[in-house]
Symmetry: C2
């Protein structure tokens, strides 16, 4: 919705009847005076606007003596002077019939602007008017600021010049701001008595917005000819030259700014996990102008007349954080509410409502239910894990009565491929494998090579490490049917031959570790079900469960679940305890916790762990804390996220997805938002090793000689997704896909509320990209 040759503005009103249509008409005329072609779109017209309806516009936007072309259009027209949503109902007679879904409504505006851009011969202006005030309902009953938001058009706000209009104008501005809109100008009538513009001008100057005031129109003259003449004279008397200049200047600044961002970013940023030496050109930088729902709006330089912004699906859920899509207004309002009530307030030995509500919710209804009794706050998964490790190590030391140097040599037990964050303590809880290390990283502990699970050629399969594979029969590791539930039904598997083999192997390994006496192991640290950063490895849950059971039967080690990535329904269940059938002593949550808005982490634990630190001596306290511990904004956003998650977990989309995977209503078993037929089909492609999915996560391992973190194979294979604006039958506008890979593993991740049609469209694109590179594949019909 950004073009070099087409200046686009949406006109919002601070209220009904503030002169929006008149001032838009004045803008249109001022544009023609600059010899610009003008497009004027009034998406909805209702009778309420009769005195300023299309006829009025048409009459006065075509001034004499201009060669500029003026096009006007109205998408939906009603003749009832009420809110559009009521007009839609009333006009239809049948209440349900004429209600136009926001998506269709907004897409028709999108199409209109695209058509204008193509049609515009030279530099042109377009004005998209809205109806009533900023929050007036749309045809389907949401309010305009929310409904129009995916378009993210630069905005002109028509202020209210009447008594009370200062308040109405500022509040309307704030509602726009809460949705991220950029207000390029505020226009309003001049009123010599209330002088609102005198107040508003410096008020908004402080906020970087220009205010311009204009004389009111003359009263309507009952004589039509005189009325036309007087109105024409009125419009001629208005001088919008400086407004036009400022709007054009802001348009140009926007173009310049966006055009320069990739280069400036390459010069100023040091990106995380990025080898800057491999960032070859400006085109390698994703310039995100805004985001909405599942999509980024990204800037790419383009020829004249072509759109500069396009939709890109956020295919990694922005590093696994997105929960209800970008710029969700419920979450924004939650952030605003807490910032407005507290800012950040001191937390040690203090309390505030957002933190307390969050803690109680996590303990009583959240992932801590039935086992946890304490919440420790920190800022991200890595710090949450450092807290967990400090808790576990101390508890173990205390339980075992360790003193002095003995306390300093403790290690952890875990799985190879684990990742718990990038602070050095969290790194030390992971094996030192491959490239992921640093000078101070010292792997402290022992890590098992874990059995993994995936779908190969349509069948769930367990891949065992060599040492276990020898003794296993094919029936131990290959599902009898295509049902993934075979893997995740732990009670049914606890007595199998494979379980016994796991048990024996783990026990003997621990025995020999103990005999060697090299390092005392003080905690079991797991990412349950899926090891994310380690390569999106789906671990055999039976192995993790048996490991926990064996460890608990023979030692005092606390068990830590790192659910930073996997928890809170990322995998379709609130906590992986539902599958594993056992609880941790300590667990960490982050990412989804704050709905994809800002950082916050919690470490949940039991009273037993808490009591290891309890005394009358300050020195034995858990001496860990960050300045913004339990910041109110994060806590309140988390509370709102958890409320929305609870609602989503009962949604129709989820029930349908559960049904496709054979999981009962509200069930916690193994299910996915991805389609089982799609999974099967991809798992049969010749260039695919295996595929796996749970909840929102899809991992595709592609064939590659090199493998590992530094492999580029998945990145290369799917490159097409990133570049092309692919069309789709059900999802408009067209979009490309932003995705991240982990070596030869391509993964995709949705929000919890991504629309089924979006996921279907993405599946189609992934299929196309993979199939086109799959030379040896027996061509399956695309039946998913």
């Amino acid at each position: 919705m950004l073009f070099k040759h087409l200046r686009v503005h949406q006109v919002f009103g601070a209220n009904t009847d503030v002169g929006k249509t008149i001032l838009t008409t004045a803008l249109v005329r001022a544009s023609t005076a600059l010899k610009r072609d003008v497009f004027y779109l009034k998406p909805i017209s209702t009778g309420a606007m009769e005195d300023a309806d299309d006829a009025h516009i048409t009459r006065f936007t075509k001034p004499q003596n201009t060669t500029a072309k003026v096009s006007t259009e109205c998408l939906y027209r009603f003749h009832v002077p009420v809110s559009p949503h009521l007009a839609a109902q009333l006009a239809a007679g049948d209440e349900s019939e004429k209600i136009v879904p926001d998506k269709i409504f907004v897409n028709s505006i999108f199409s209109y602007v695209q058509r204008c851009a193509a049609a515009a011969a030279g530099p042109s202006h377009i004005y998209v008017e809205t109806a009533g005030g900023v929050h007036s309902p749309t045809l389907s009953g949401t309010t305009q600021v929310d409904a129009y938001r995916p378009l993210f058009l630069p905005t002109i706000l028509v202020g209210d010049s009447r008594l009370g209009g200062i308040s109405a104008t500022i509040s309307a501005y704030e509602s726009l701001l809460l949705r991220g809109y950029i207000v390029d100008a505020i226009l309003l009538f001049r009123d010599e008595y209330y002088r609102n513009s005198e107040y508003l001008t410096p008020y908004f100057a402080e906020r970087g917005v220009d205010v311009a005031a204009f004389d009111k129109p003359p009263p309507i003259n009952p004589n039509p000819t005189q009325n036309v003449q007087e109105t024409e004279e009125y419009y001629k008397s208005l001088d919008l030259a400086s407004v036009q200049k400022s709007l054009t200047s802001r348009h140009e600044q926007r173009l310049t700014q966006l055009e320069s961002m990739s280069k400036r970013s390459m010069d100023a940023f040091w990106w995380p996990f990025v080898q800057h030496g491999l960032v070859e050109s400006r085109k390698d930088v994703t310039v995100i102008d805004s985001a909405s729902g599942d999509f980024f709006s990204i800037y790419k330089d383009a020829e004249n007349k072509k759109p500069l912004l396009s939709h890109q699906l956020d295919g990694s859920a922005s590093w696994w954080t997105q929960t209800f899509g970008h710029a969700n207004s419920s979450l924004t309002l939650a952030a605003a509410r807490a910032a407005g009530r507290y800012g950040h307030v001191m937390f040690p030995q203090a309390t505030h409502e957002p933190a307390l509500r969050l803690a109680e919710r996590l303990l009583h209804d959240g992932p801590g239910q039935n086992w946890a009794s304490r919440v420790f706050f920190s800022d991200n998964g890595s710090t949450g894990m450092e807290v967990a490790l400090k808790m576990a190590l101390r508890t173990y030391s205390t339980r075992m009565g360790l003193q002095g140097a003995d306390r300093k040599k403790l290690g952890v037990l875990g799985l190879k491929g684990s990742y718990h964050g990038d602070t050095i303590g969290a790194m030390d809880a992971c094996a030192e494998e491959g490239v992921y290390t640093c000078e101070w990283h010292e792997a402290k502990g022992f890590w098992f090579d874990p059995p993994t699970v995936a779908i190969q050629d349509g069948v769930p399969v367990i891949t065992l490490p060599e040492v276990l594979a020898k003794a296993a029969a094919p029936s131990d590791t290959r599902a009898p049917s295509d049902a993934v539930s075979w893997i995740y039904d732990i009670p049914a598997r606890l007595d199998t031959r494979l379980a016994q083999s796991y048990r024996a192997f783990i026990s003997s390994t621990l025995d020999s570790l103990e005999r060697s006496g090299e390092q005392r192991l003080a905690a079991l640290v797991l990412e349950p079900l899926v090891m994310g950063a380690g390569g999106m490895l789906f671990v055999d849950p039976l192995f993790q469960r048996v490991l926990i059971d064996v460890v608990r039967s023979r030692s005092n080690m606390p068990v830590i679940f790192d659910e930073v990535f996997v928890g809170l329904y990322r995998l379709g269940m609130q906590s992986t305890t539902a599958v594993l059938g056992t609880n941790p002593d300590i667990a960490v949550y982050a990412k989804i916790l704050t709905g994809g808005v800002l950082p916050l982490a919690v470490t949940l634990t039991t009273d037993k762990i808490f009591e290891a630190f309890l005394s009358q001596d300050k020195a034995t306290a858990l001496l860990h804390g960050h300045s913004y511990t339990a910041h109110a904004v994060g806590c309140e956003v988390a509370n709102e996220s958890l409320r929305l998650i609870e609602k989503e977990s009962r949604s129709e989309a989820w029930e349908q997805a559960r049904g496709r995977w054979g999981v009962s209503v509200g069930g916690d078993g193994a299910w996915s938002l991805w389609d089982p037929e799609f999974i099967k089909a991809v798992s049969g492609l010749g260039n695919v090793v295996e595929v796996m999915t749970l909840g929102t996560v899809l991992a595709i391992k592609v064939k590659d000689a090199q493998g590992g973190y530094v492999s580029h194979s998945a990145q290369t294979l799917l490159q097409g997704l990133k570049d092309a604006n692919l069309g789709s039958e059900d999802v408009y506008p067209p979009f490309s896909v932003h995705y991240r890979t982990l070596g030869n593993v391509a993964y995709f991740m949705t929000s919890l509320n991504t629309a089924p049609e979006t996921i279907r469209a993405l599946e189609g694109k992934i299929w196309t990209a993979l199939e086109s590179h799959s030379e040896t594949v027996e061509r399956r019909s695309r039946h998913f």
Copy 2:
């Protein structure tokens, strides 16, 4: 502003002329029907309200057949039907004369409510009306939602039932929400045509707010008697029983909730740095109901009729984070703007405007100017320091061509008393002294015992560690006058005998460390000027400067400045480089960076450091990143904070403070917001060892045999500040002080914009508390 017996509500309007006074009258009458005494305050009345003015209220709020007492009051009265701020100007004739500052205006409402609470015989209700819409200007020209915010009264919003009223009502609600107000109910007229209440009821039900609609009043009857009668009948026809019930229920829920919070928090939280075994009773928990500017509003249980909420000064700036006070609406709006535009978006190899603007600002106009060229984002000071350490260690390894095991044995050089955060990597950069340690903490490096500076008995003094003290003369360490600038004038000191002695000592220590070959030192890590968590130790800046010079002259160690606490004007200067006269290679900022709202950290560095990671090999990238890296909300709040800081740095209050400390206009030298005379006086007290201050920070070391982190002496000495609601001549309402101590060091910290009168009042209270315990002190006159 919360009482058991007195239910308080403030009535805001979605707009002017929405029926606010009529519905408030109805509320008043419904309260009397419940046999409640009612207080009705209309702080401002202007002619615009003439048709609904006090006479009108008085007439109809005293229904027949009631024994309830109704009191009405109006604080400021104007007869001009315009906005209050214009009315104030017009009524005064002289524009400046009658403008009432918000503070006085708000305090008079505060007093009124307190008087009502004292006067109320039994359970009572009070309604405080506002004028016009939520954002209508006050007498002094701010808008009401901002001006009334310190009172934080539970709110009733009168919605708009007219065309456009849906939008006006929602926007007004959002403006209230942005300031943290809790809306207990929305009342509006019923309009059969526009049916706004039908839309608003479910809309707000989803947001937890009840909406109630009422018939409109009859038109005014020209016959006064009939008018009275018809109006009386109208009011009688309204049924507000359920509204009253809901308002009372919310009042009671508020009381129950606040009363229960301390106990519930003791049960659910694991507080940072708190020994729960020492939290004896519920009274030890600070229950923060809201915060505004420099003050918490805290809940304490009280006898009937006594206020349950009181003001408490946030004396530690909420763990050193507060910058422009709590709930600053500019920062809230910045957070909202970014959340509304992006939420959080993926950062690696991507860019968005808030992050880019912040990075460029930090590099070009911020603490990185003249030396830094790259910004790495993380979430807090501790992670920012881990990034800095990873940068420095790798750079050193690469410069020295270290391989394999040699890379794993690196240490840092620093000062004893350092603190860089609580993640284990950051801890490892600090000496292991005293209690601050954990199982995995391994101090890696060497730390000098640093000379410190402070004011003793009015004179700046340098305290040398024993090894240096032997050779020093008194004139080396004692200022010739009371001017603190003697310490901070590094150019003048670089050639002194003391500097030579520092230089020789540092060189010989490094020589012997090298000879011992125990550990290779790879980075110099300093908290410049003040080591905060280590005990608010003011280090001799000359020692730090000489240390940097010596290190640079003989090794390849990068120099890291941990400016997390000291940077961004916490000490009155943007960066301590202004005093030290030299730049680091890496520096870390957090805390003030986000204005005291939410976590974000940046690590700034040079191209030379950046280049140590640059190659064509992904494995040599800096593999560090957090999910919410460079989150847009944090970056936008930081941008707004830096904008406000720049403004504040030129403020009159700062110029006056600089003047008191003899620093030139806009100067970067050693100055403080605390009064030099107060500092001198306190430094002479018998129970005080020494005092020191820079910028917003005041540290008072009290006499104590034990000392150290576990000492409670400072806490005990100043206990009075925490409990009593102390009055003050210039600061109303009365307040107590929330403060933190570090063993025998009491420290106090203001925001950057704390009002001078607040600091003066706090100085007075500190003086009183210390003096009352100071038995041996020669009683000075309190002349500061």
